[in-house]
Symmetry: C3
Subunit: 243 residues, 3 copies
């Protein structure tokens, strides 16, 4: 059983955050809220997100799991104004999700969770350095990096967070000392990442007031942030540096 | 003889309403105003519109008929700001229409009306049910329907107006009880229509405060509304339902 | 040596004005400011522009010349907000230009000026007629002309400036008497120009409050204007009229 009511923009945040990584996913319906964990088909990027029951205007659930096409769900939500109420109800017998927005009523066919990828085990990493930075600044640096390269090095050096992109001719570097960061745990860190994934993720976290990056040495990058009422965490595998 | 002055947005409304159906048309120049009746090449959708002489700042005419390329006329009007005055004058001998907008002066070649389709006879239908609804609501329902199907069923059942779209997996329904409609004439009605035409029309009537739908059983749909000073009426043939 | 600081929008104006004509250019670094002269590859359009040292917040230079890819420079500037400060510094030994925008730092590879076209000699023309007109009006007339043709005649006749575009069927003319122009030097003038170039230039001068056109008889057109702190002058070769 699942019945809920939530502001459209809150639900939209959750779906958009997942869509940066996958198009279909299992959603775990828990008493404490909705949870989604997924890994992309190339096994390079993972997302783990949850939205608490308290973010809903109405939230009633018998714990369970559904499989859903996120693209169709996003399409349905696109009919709603930002602060319009979205009412969702699981039609268990028919394997459908009913979505009401004003006078509109969608019935979305669900996907058998057994046919979807298993919920990935998200490793608990203890990364040596971390920085917290406004999402808009990070998005700007990523967009600027895309102008010169398709990959980027993130690191920490002497209390300074840096992002370096190196093209054949031009280079871009972004640096921010700890005094300008929202928060920092200094430590040795330097890893290279594909901009393709960072760019897709930055469209989501660019709207977050604070984004925490946890970085290691040639190690995965952990990106975590709150988007209104949703907590999102991405994990991105490093590229091997050849030079 | 035809000389007129009108606010650009009023003329634009008329042309846009016709363009949902045809690209070229005969315009009838009458003392009471301009009139246009046309049917699309597949003979599925008709438009009948008129704009009264009183909507013009200046209106002088000797009754007659001109044939015009609506796309070129719309292009010319696109140079004008919304509340700019558009001055039109028929150059009979040259078979041209002169259009002045500020310091700009277009001369559009006219089309011999004899080479265009005859003005269609628009049937007078006495449809069993009708509903009146804000254009924006109707447009939203049509856009939502397009996400799941390419056709839609419109009908009235027990004082409720409904629109149903049925895809292979997902469905969308829009329902509005008479208490929320601007007006209703209850009656048995249920017909299926192609969303392709409804979608083009909805770009026009989406801006109308009130749109009247007249519906029958497997019968054409009549859509009528005022767009500022122009009165527009569409007639759309039903699709035959196979199920 | 070259070190400077300037508001992003001022630098953007200069680059955009040059980009209407060329993608790569020599920039002359002078004590009085930056200068750029270039001719397009078809030798039809020339640009000559300068931005005075006084338009910069900081300007330090040893006179010299650099070759630069304007597209990459424009890309780098696109990261900056309009009123953000752009800091530029020439790294002579590395043949690079360093550009700082907030926490971002680009290093753009320069082009050996010797491999670029020579700075063209811009002829001093003494054209018989000239008109000065708001850039937005001129841009509107050029956009309207594009709807009917790919070339246009500019001229002056009896104290009236005119622009005529003639398509196969439709025509567009723009006329403005001296009383409505910002300034006029009457004289006999009538030349035809390709709209392709005028259109690209008009995206730039469309934002200028006053654009001066100097016209002759089947002679090049000189277009000059201030864009904030930059002075821009275009020279456009006439098309030969066949009729």
């Amino acid at each position: 059983m699942f019945r809920s009511e939530i502001l459209a923009e809150r639900m939209h945040d959750v779906i958009e955050a997942a869509r940066a990584i996958v198009n279909e996913a299992r959603i775990s319906l828990q008493e404490r809220g909705l949870e989604l964990k997924a890994i992309n088909s190339a096994s390079v990027a993972m997302v783990s997100l949850r939205i608490d029951a308290s973010a809903f205007e109405l939230y009633q659930v018998t714990p369970g799991e559904i499989g859903i096409d996120l693209v169709r769900l996003e399409d349905a939500l696109s009919s709603a104004g930002k602060s319009e109420l979205v009412k969702m109800e699981l039609l268990e017998d028919e394997r459908k999700l009913k979505i009401r927005i004003g006078s509109l009523s969608y019935t979305l066919g669900l996907i058998d969770p057994g046919t979807l990828q298993r919920e990935p085990k998200i490793p608990e990493l203890d990364l040596p350095a971390s920085v917290t930075i406004p999402g808009a600044e990070l998005r700007r640096a990523i967009k600027a990096s895309e102008l010169v390269s398709d990959h980027v090095v993130l690191g920490v050096r002497d209390d300074v967070f840096y992002m370096d992109a190196r093209g054949d001719v031009d280079t871009l570097s972004f640096t921010m000392p700890s005094s300008e960061l929202l928060d920092m745990k200094p430590g040795e860190a330097r890893s290279m990442f594909s901009l393709e994934y960072l760019s897709a993720m930055s469209r989501v976290f660019g709207r977050a007031p604070a984004v925490k990056l946890e970085i290691g040495i040639d190690y995965p990058l952990q990106i975590s942030f709150w988007l209104n009422e949703a907590h999102v965490s991405y994990l991105l595998a490093p590229r091997i540096e050849e030079e």
